[in-house]
Amino acid sequence: MIQLAADENLIAVFRKHNFYFAVKIFSLIILALLPLFLYPVLLTVNAIAVSGINYLLLFFYVIFITLLWITGFVFWTNYYLDIWILTDKSLIDVDQIGLFSREVASLRLDKIQDIKVETIGILDTMLHIGTVHVQTAGNEKEFVIPQVDSPDQVKDLIQSACNNLRAAGN
């Protein structure tokens, strides 16, 4: 769990735009509907001689739907727990790579030298989705906030937090 220092205040929490999560959920819904289209085909097969076949098919369909349901929540977990936390002192990257894979990196705001916003493609432009690159002075890893909602606002918030920290330091 991320614990902030006693004198550190939370400013904002960023996460990826929910559009990309919605696309994944939509693909699961399509998968869930596929067997319903195959059902009429199965009914034409004369080789099936089982009483209560509909219950058997329904059983396997429910198992399949339960699998998709759990998969949907695994997608949601990876989406929702993958966050960037902006405080008045640092920017924390909580990278939820998978259920058993998690990386937490922290960058002090006074180390930030440049913030760049990148928006590529029609969809990203229309939905105000973009990637924010936070570059540091040293050889430290560049912080990248990909597919974030309203990247310009994110950039402004980080920039403003940096300016406030520098002003308080002087």
Partner: protein, 80 residues
């Protein structure tokens, strides 16, 4: 309408009930295991993620309902 269906040369006479109950038992066990893993993540990393409480309720209700439905349909099939 589906000519390829008639070309099937085998006759499906069903799956033994024991195997189906075994499949269901194994699946329910795995589903519960995954649920514990998901709930663990939501509770451990819930800081700054307030929607995890709502997600837990929806997830538990949905999974229970689906597993009960699978149990119900299997019971109906094996008792026919």
């Amino acid at each position: 309408m589906f000519p390829f269906a008639e070309s099937l040369s085998f006759t499906f006479t069903g799956i033994p009930a024991d195997i189906l109950w075994g499949v269901f038992g194994l699946f329910a066990f795995l589903a519960i295991l995954w649920s514990i893993i998901l709930l663990y993540h939501w509770n451990k990393y819930r800081l700054h993620n307030p929607a995890t409480n709502k997600a837990q309720i929806i997830y538990i209700l949905g999974t229970t309902l689906l597993l009960l439905s699978a149990l119900g349909t299997l019971y109906l099939y094996t008792s026919v």
